[in-house]
Amino acid sequence: MIIRFIEFIGVLMEKPAEGLGRFILLFYAVLKGIARPPFDVRNIVRQMLEIGVNSLPVVLITAVFTGMVLALQGYTGFKRFGAEGLVGSVVALSMTRELGPVLSALIVTGRAGAAMAAELGTMRVTEQIDALETLATNPVKYLIVPRFLSGLMMLPALTVVTDIIGILGGYFVTVTLLGTSSKSYLRATWNFLQVQDIYVGLTKACFFGAAFTLISCYKGFYTSGGAEGVGRATTGAVVFSSMTILISDYFLSAWLF
């Protein structure tokens, strides 16, 4: 009975353990690829444009409206006990510590992560990855390393933009629509915001950038099963990346508190 139960657990854990092992090996191959020249600068720049610059419009819209909503809700709540002057601080702290990195990461995952998994998955099922190997090119170094580095660099950059635009969105609602003085909003923002808050947000952004690129590339790189497999890989990339971002966000917050 006990042996059967252990066998059942073993069978149940076989696939996840195999997947985890493959993921760790892929991460190791990526680190090895980063350490070894030559560096494909052109490819890295292209991926930075794809992940960073092309995500800007949707990140900007999300940031400005998130800042506006935060200000509106904060104002409604704080007004009840006469603390409207703290709206600027709440917007600034929420954006820099939490919403800036998390929202940017989720948006970029939905856009660029899905695209990465679909592109690599299609390359796998159409034998383009095999073709790279026959042309004496390491596919991890050629395909995944530039994406990983771009995610690592561009997500913090997008987070800075999200923070600034979110704070400006809050400013617009609080000052222009609700009539609080500009000076008081800005004072509340600067007085309570510390370098530590920005550092916490950017550390999270780096982790999220590395996580979503690695998960998306892993899902795409090991795709099998034709068009259906590519669809599965794309969905899996977005779901796993989003879950990883949200779960790790708690632990990173607790660690960097």
Binding site: A131, L135, A136, T137
Partner: protein, 252 residues
Amino acid sequence: MIELRDVHKSFEENQVLRGVSLKVRKGESVVVIGGSGSGKSVLLKHIIGLLKPDRGTVIVDSTDLSQLDEEGLNELRKKFGMLFQSSALFDSMPVWENVGFGLKRHTRLSDSEIKKIAIQKLRMVGLVGVEDLMPSELSGGMRKRVGLARAIAMEPEILLYDEPTTGLDPIMADAVNELIIKMRETLHVTSVTITHDMKSAYKIADTIAMLYNGVIIASGSPGEIRNTPDPVVRQFIEGRAEGPIVLEGIIR
């Protein structure tokens, strides 16, 4: 030049190769025939190190592939060119970049020099004025030719062809056969082709080997294979549903 000794390969429960042994001499054109799912592509991928055998050895140019690290394997792969069944063109880059991909990665040539060589290789396979097109703008036959131009761009010593005529109309298939013969005559390459197209096999092979049930069951010149008494080979080359070969999923 190429030797497979007792190569075994399984994917989970599915035993695909059960002790394949095959020799390819320098300059020879060997065609491996066999039904769909018989493991022909798996065999070809072992020759270029895309797959590692569970048991047995693959020797290329006196080098045991299992003894090579990643760099050594990549160095050896520069001797190879491979034409894929689906052509496997990189669809994010134009034709000339596809053809010149190996040159871009492994030489210090400028883009303009690479493009010039790519145009020359494209001309060799009968294509003119397509260098700036994207792969999605090409027909199936043109894609095969671009794939072949990419395979020969680094002037390889060995060419591997994975089902080169599959999916092409008979005229285009024959044109690809002619190209394979031309490559051998002009570039003096050793080639291994896998196919189930017997017309193509008879035309391009010096030696035909048949893969069945994970082993090579017959090998000989096109004439010998054509006249073999082996009932399994006969059924395959004559393309009959009736015979000793059991077709998976077909009830008779």
